[in-house]
């Protein structure tokens, strides 16, 4: 028994086990979120949502997944043979790395790195690149337009996102998720959302834009661009983009709960259930947004960012730095 424990404590073995666990979580989460999103959409629009496959439509996502796996993979003529297939993989692969440094519980942690926050920010930026390659490689005007929108949107919204994250890094004095969580375990009021409410709002709005969720889903606006950057993808090519989007929702919500909502710590019975609860609460809010607000226009999207979020986050950052200096 001790030998098995020692074997599990080896760094490489630990990493592999963590990766397998994360990939399983991502797959399960994809199935759950597909069902939840359709149900939430149904309830908000006063209809039952999926109801036929299984009790209350519970097996619907499984049927959808089987359909996606079984579909033929088609590549349009004139598409870039390599980049067209690299793009969905590049979109999905960084997710596993992004979830590695996030502490889901006191001991439930893939990789404890000092620069965990930076690691997540660095690798989540690869998604834009994947969207660009997909849009360009498809040899399709809608896809290219979607890619162009994705670039403008994510380059703009990355700035307020980073600035709001910096505020938390300033107050906690660390870029490690473990340290940031540890600084918020002294009860409910020590959560950063109470000391940095503006940063939390800016982070959440920017995160919605970075994950291309409605009302900022312009890169795949179905009423204008058919499906934007993934117009030409069928079967699992589309499936991977879809899975990546849902997984980035998890990454974003997990980072938000660690940075602002105390991570796995709660007012009572601290543990990973608190973390999961916070993640899915944030995701439900994202879904609620999607079915409540209409999609913004492109100029509105950029105006919100450059005229509101960036100045506000700059002021917030300067104020935070000033207060920290005064307190010290």
């Amino acid at each position: 028994m001790t030998q098995i424990l020692q074997f599990l404590m080896l760094p490489l073995v630990h990493l592999i086990v963590a990766l397998i666990a994360i990939l399983t979580f991502i797959a399960l989460n994809g199935l759950i979120l597909v069902y939840v999103e359709r149900k939430v959409a149904g309830f908000i629009q006063r209809r039952p949502g999926p109801f036929e496959v299984g009790p209350h439509g519970l097996l619907q996502p499984l049927a959808d997944a089987l359909k996606l796996v079984g579909k033929q993979l088609v590549m349009p003529r004139g598409a870039d043979r390599i980049l067209f297939w690299v793009a969905p993989l590049l979109s999905f692969a960084p997710v596993a790395i992004c979830l590695l440094p996030i502490p889901f519980g006191p001991y439930l942690l893939g990789l404890n790195v000092n620069l965990g926050l930076l690691l997540v920010l660095a690798f989540s930026g690869l998604n834009v690149l994947a969207l660009c390659l997909a849009g360009w490689g498809s040899n399709n005007k809608y896809a290219l337009l979607g890619a162009a929108r994705a670039v403008a949107q994510s380059v703009a919204y990355e700035i307020p996102l980073l600035l709001s994250v910096l505020c938390v890094a300033f107050t906690c004095g660390s870029l490690s998720f473990v340290d940031i969580t540890a600084s918020q375990t002294r009860g409910l009021l020590s959560w950063n959302v109470f000391s940095q409410p503006l940063a939390f709002l800016i982070f959440f709005v920017s995160a919605l834009a970075e994950t291309n969720r409605a009302p900022f889903d312009l890169p795949e606006a179905e009423s204008e661009l058919t499906a934007g950057f993934h117009t030409e993808y069928s079967g699992m090519g589309f499936g991977l983009f879809f899975l990546a989007e849902y997984s980035y929702m998890i990454v974003v919500s997990a980072v938000a709960s660690v940075l602002f909502l105390g991570g796995w710590s709660g007012p009572f019975f601290s543990g990973h259930w608190w973390m999961l609860g916070k993640i899915y609460a944030l995701i439900l809010i994202m879904m609620w947004f999607r079915w409540t607000y209409p999609r913004v226009r492109f100029d509105q999207l950029l105006n919100i960012c450059w005229k509101w979020l960036i100045p506000l986050s700059l002021i917030n950052l300067l104020g935070t730095a000033l207060i920290i200096n005064l307190v010290r």
Binding site: A122, V128, L129, C132, S154
Partner: protein, 171 residues
């Protein structure tokens, strides 16, 4: 030979990434493929930083260069694409490829000669510098160079804006 056999496997991997990425960037006909070669190279360089116990620089490299700079280059490629397809993909004549091979061989030979003559000794790896110390260095002893770099960046940006306006006036 002892030194060669002691190459860290990760070092070899990053070396292959850097060189193959560079080859793709130079040889690819399409600009976007060349750009993806550049991205592979940048990843390899980030890995090298990791090996040198500088994870902060490595992640910054990925965040800024891979996540932002290449995306902007991609944007530029999309904006400047002409109707006849990719620009700059003219096929090289035999003479040109001969010149290219000659230039590559010459620089490789010179570099190899220098390396063989003055083989650098392996320096023992320094411990990872903490973020706090990095910040103190950047705002203390290296403040001038840090500020100068930002001035250079600012000048470049202002110049780009100026050029853009002049171009628009000419039309």
């Amino acid at each position: 030979m002892d030194q060669l056999s002691g190459i860290h496997p990760a070092y070899g991997l990053y070396l292959v990434l850097i060189i193959s990425g560079g080859a793709v960037a130079v040889l690819a006909r399409s600009l976007v493929r060349a750009l993806s070669g550049l991205i592979i190279t940048l990843f390899g360089v980030a890995g090298m930083y990791l090996l040198m116990a500088a994870p902060f620089i490595a992640f910054m490299q990925i965040l800024i260069y891979v996540g932002a700079v290449t995306v902007l280059i991609f944007f530029a490629i999309m904006l400047t694409r002409t109707s006849e397809g990719e620009s700059g993909s003219e096929s090289g004549s035999v003479g040109r490829s001969f010149l290219g091979i000659w230039a590559a061989a010459f620089s490789t030979l010179v570099l190899a000669a220098v390396v063989v003559r003055h083989m650098p000794k392996a320096i023992p790896l320094k411990p990872e510098a903490s973020m706090g110390r990095l910040g103190e260095f950047l705002t203390g002893p290296f403040a001038l160079s840090f500020e100068l770099i930002s001035v250079v960046l600012f000048v470049a940006m202002a110049g780009a804006v100026l050029l853009g306006f002049e171009r628009r006036k000419a039309k």
